[in-house]
C-alpha cells in the first residue's frame, strides 16, 4: 500500500501545511492587490469624470447651453476619448446631446453604475456621475469600466494560474521528498534486517551530503561497530576459555589420576592434594581474569567515575613490586610527579599499572634496570615503564594484547598471558593510549591519559 504510506510521512504533512500557508498568504496578497488596484482605478475614473464635469460646467456657466452641446459633441468625437460617455438632458428628460441613452436615471443619485447599450450595439458597464444644472438640465458624464474589469480579470487570472502551479509544485515536491525520505529510511531498515539475519559486518551507506540522515547513519554505524566488537569479544572469550583452560585442567586431571594410580602414603596424598588445590586456584585465577577483562570491555560508561590520584597509585604499585625486583637484584627507579590526577576507576588503574610493572620485572633478567615515570604535559598525564629486558619484536607488538598471547621467548615464565589484555581493556575504558616502543635495549611502554573533557563518561 504505497500511496497511503507516502501521504502519512511527516515530510508530506509538512509540505501540505506549507502549501496551505503559502496559499493563505497568496490569497491575502491577492485580496490586497485586487482591492488596492480597484480602489486606485476607481479613484482615477472618478477624477477623470470629475474633471470633465467641472470643465463642462464651466463652459455652461460662461458660454451657455449651445456651447455646452457643441463641446460635448467635440469630446465625443475625440478618438482617445471613446471610453467616455456623455449625456445632456433637459429638465424634462429629453436628450440634448450625448452618446448614452437616457435609461431610467435615478435623479436622486448622483453617482451610479449602470449597464447601457452603446451606440455600437455592445453592452457596456458605465460608471457615471451626474449633476443638475441651474435651469434643470442634467449633465451626466461617465466612464466605461471595461478597463477596470479587464484589469480585475487579468489579476485574477494571473493569481489563479500561479496559485494553481504553486499548489501543484508544492504537492508534487512534497511527494517527491517523501518518496526520497521513504527510500532512505527503507534502505536503513533493510540494512538493519540483513544485519539481524547475521551479517554483523554490514554498515548503513552514507549519502555523503553530511545531513541529518548521514549523521543518523554514522551514529548507527558506530553502534554497529561496538556491537560487532562486543560479539567478537564474547566469541573470543569462549574460544579462549575452551582452548587455554583445557591445558591446566588436563594437567590437573593427569596429576590426580597419577596420584590415584601410584600414590600410597598419606604424606604423598596430602602433598598431591595441596598441589592440586594450587592448580585449581591457578585455573580460578585465570577464569576471574578472563571475566574481569570481559566485564571491563563490555561496560562503556562506568557509574562511578572519580578523580584518581595517579601519583599515589603509582607509588603503591612500585611499593608492592619492590620485593620481587629486589629478589631479582633488579634496579627499580621511580620518578613520579606528585598530584597527578586522572578521571576513572582507581582499582582498574591500579591493576593496569601493576600488571605493566609486573611484566617488566618478570620478563627482565637478573640485574636489569627498570624505570617507572609518571608525569604530565599539555597532552595529558603520562606513564612510562621501561626495562632493559628482551623487549618485544616489532612484529608482535600488535598481538601481545590478545588474550593468552605469549611470546615464544616467555612461554616458560609463569603467567597466564592475560596481563596485557587487562591493561588494554582498562586503557580503552579510560580512553588512554598505549604505545610499545624499543627501549634499546628492552621495552618501553608508553601510556597516556587524555585531558578530561566534560563528556568523559559518555564516550563510546
Amino acid at each position: 500500500m504505497r500511496i497511503p504510506k507516502l501521504l502519512r510521512t511527516s515530510s508530506f504533512r509538512i509540505t501540505t501545511a506549507y502549501a496551505a500557508l503559502f496559499s493563505l498568504s497568496a490569497l491575502i496578497l491577492f485580496v490586497l492587490v485586487y482591492s488596492g488596484t480597484s480602489q486606485y482605478m476607481r479613484a482615477e475614473l472618478n477624477t477623470a469624470i470629475a474633471s470633465d464635469l467641472t470643465e463642462l460646467d464651466e463652459i455652461f456657466k460662461t458660454q451657455g447651453t449651445k456651447s455646452l452641446v457643441r463641446e460635448i459633441q467635440t469630446r465625443m468625437r475625440q478618438a482617445d476619448n471613446d471610453d467616455m460617455v456623455y449625456l445632456l438632458q433637459d429638465s424634462l428628460g429629453d436628450v440634448m446631446a450625448g452618446n448614452m441613452s437616457p435609461q431610467a436615471l435615478d435623479t436622486s443619485a448622483s453617482t451610479f453604475e449602470i449597464s447601457i447599450h452603446a451606440p455600437d450595439g455592445k453592452e457596456r458597464t458605465v460608471h457615471a456621475h451626474g449633476i443638475v444644472l441651474p435651469d434643470g438640465q442634467r449633465l451626466t458624464v461617465g466612464v466605461d469600466t471595461f478597463d477596470l474589469h479587464e484589469m480585475h480579470a487579468v489579476i485574477l487570472r494571473a493569481f489563479a494560474f500561479s496559485f494553481g502551479i504553486t499548489l501543484l509544485l508544492a504537492l508534487f515536491g512534497g511527494a517527491m521528498m517523501s518518496r526520497n525520505l521513504l527510500l532512505h529510511v527503507e534502505r536503513i531498515s533493510q540494512t538493519g534486517r540483513k544485519i539481524m539475519k547475521g551479517n554483523l559486518s554490514l554498515r548503513i551507506p552514507l549519502r555523503g551530503v553530511d545531513d541529518e540522515f548521514d549523521h543518523l547513519a554514522t551514529s548507527l554505524n558506530l553502534m554497529l561497530n561496538r556491537t560487532e566488537r562486543l560479539v567478537e569479544s564474547i566469541r573470543q572469550v569462549s574460544n579462549d576459555i575452551a582452548h587455554d583452560l583445557r591445558t591446566p585442567l588436563t594437567r590437573l586431571r593427569q596429576r590426580l589420576e597419577r596420584t590415584q594410580r601410584t600414590e600410597q602414603s598419606a604424606e604423598g596424598l596430602r602433598t598431591a592434594i595441596a598441589r592440586s588445590i594450587a592448580d585449581v586456584d591457578g585455573i580460578l585465577d585465570t577464569f576471574s581474569a578472563l571475566l574481569s577483562i570481559a566485564q571491563i570491555e563490555s561496560t562503556t560508561a562506568r557509574k562511578e567515575v572519580a578523580r584518581v590520584d595517579l601519583s599515589e597509585v603509582l607509588q603503591t604499585v612500585v611499593e608492592i613490586h619492590q620485593p620481587t625486583a629486589d629478589e631479582k637484584k633488579q634496579h627499580l627507579a621511580a620518578r613520579i610527579v606528585p598530584n597527578l590526577r586522572v578521571l576513572g576507576d582507581r582499582e582498574l588503574i591500579t591493576q593496569m599499572a601493576s600488571n605493566l610493572l609486573e611484566n617488566a620485572i618478570r620478563h627482565s633478567p637478573e640485574g636489569a634496570s627498570i624505570s617507572l615515570a609518571g608525569g604530565n604535559d599539555e597532552n595529558g598525564v603520562e606513564l612510562v615503564i621501561a626495562d632493559t629486558g628482551p623487549g618485544i619484536p616489532v612484529a608482535e607488538r600488535g598481538k601481545v594484547f590478545r588474550r593468552f598471547y605469549r611470546l615464544e621467548s616467555s612461554r616458560s615464565t609463569p603467567g597466564n598471558g592475560l596481563g596485557l589484555s587487562l591493561v588494554a581493556a582498562v586503557a580503552e575504558r579510560h580512553n588512554a593510549t598505549i604505545h610499545l616502543e624499543d627501549n634499546d635495549p628492552g621495552l618501553r611502554v608508553h601510556l597516556r591519559f587524555p585531558i578530561p573533557t566534560l563528556d568523559v563518561s559518555n564516550d563510546i
Binding site: 562511578e304 611499593e319 608492592i320 620481587t324 576507576d345 601493576s354 609486573e358
Partner: protein, 228 residues
C-alpha cells in the same frame, strides 16, 4: 575471641554444610536457611552477631535482603558470599549495606578470619584515639608508637599495618585482608609485599629480648597478641 551467633543464608547444600560445620568447629553457633525470605525474617527476629548471605537466592535475593534489613534499621554485620566476583558486583554489594564480600570458592581459613574480624567489630569502639596491645601503645592522633615508653618511628604504611593488626588483636588476619585494608588492593599482585613489610615491621618494633607480638599462623595469616 568470643563465640559468635551466625546465620548462614545459602541455597547450595554442600557449601552450606561446609560453612556450618567449619564455623561450629571454630566454636561458633551457626544457623542456616536456604531461602531468602525465611532468612530475612530470621535475621529480623533473632539477634545474630553476624550474617553470611549468598547473593543469588531463591525467594528474596541477597542484595535486596540486606537493603531491607538496613532500611529497617538492622545493622547486623553482614558478609556476602557469592560467585559474582566482578568489581561492580563487589561495589554494589557494599553499597547495599554489606560489610564484607567474599568470592567463591574461598579457603575456609579466609572465611573464618573475616568472620572473627566482623564479629569483633560490632563491639569495638571505632572512636578510640589510642590502641594498646601488650606493651605497645599506638596514638592515632599524634601518629606515634611507643613500646614500653620507647618511641618507635614508623613509615606511613608500617603505621597502617600495625594499626590494622592492633584493631584485630588476638584474631588471625589473612594476607588478602591485609592487601585489602592496608594497601587498598582488591586483586592479588602475586608479590610478597605483605611478608616483606611484616618482617620490616617486626624488626622495628622488637628490640633485644622483647617478646615477639606479631605471630605467623601457617597457611592462614598473621596474628598480633601478647602470648604466642
Amino acid at each position: 575471641m568470643g563465640a559468635l551467633k551466625i546465620l548462614i543464608i545459602e541455597d547450595d547444600r554442600e557449601t552450606a554444610d561446609f560453612i556450618v560445620n567449619g564455623l561450629m568447629e571454630e566454636g561458633h553457633v551457626a544457623a542456616h536457611t536456604a531461602n531468602g525470605n525465611e532468612g530475612l525474617s530470621l535475621a529480623t527476629g533473632d539477634s545474630f552477631d553476624l550474617l553470611l548471605v549468598d547473593r543469588m537466592l531463591p525467594g528474596l535475593d541477597g542484595l535486596q535482603l540486606v537493603k531491607l534489613l538496613r532500611n529497617a534499621g538492622n545493622m547486623t554485620p553482614t558478609l556476602f558470599l557469592t560467585t559474582l566476583g566482578g568489581i561492580d558486583d563487589r561495589v554494589s554489594g557494599l553499597n547495599a549495606g554489606g560489610d564484607d564480600y567474599l568470592v567463591k570458592p574461598f579457603a575456609f581459613a579466609e572465611l573464618a578470619a573475616r568472620v572473627s574480624a566482623l564479629g569483633r567489630r560490632s563491639r569495638a569502639r571505632l572512636l578510640e584515639t589510642k590502641l594498646s596491645v601488650a606493651d605497645l601503645e599506638l596514638d592515632l592522633v599524634s601518629r606515634a608508637l611507643h613500646r614500653n615508653g620507647r618511641p618507635i618511628d614508623l613509615q606511613p604504611r608500617e603505621f597502617r599495618l600495625l594499626e590494622y593488626l592492633m584493631r584485630h588483636a588476638g584474631q588471625t588476619v589473612t594476607r588478602t585482608m591485609l592487601l585489602e585494608n592496608v594497601w587498598d588492593l582488591h586483586f592479588d599482585p602475586h608479590t610478597n609485599v605483605v611478608e616483606t613489610q611484616m618482617s620490616r615491621l617486626r624488626c622495628k618494633i622488637r628490640k633485644d629480648n622483647e617478646p615477639e607480638v606479631i605471630h605467623t599462623i601457617r597457611g592462614v595469616g598473621y596474628c598480633l597478641r601478647a602470648h604466642p
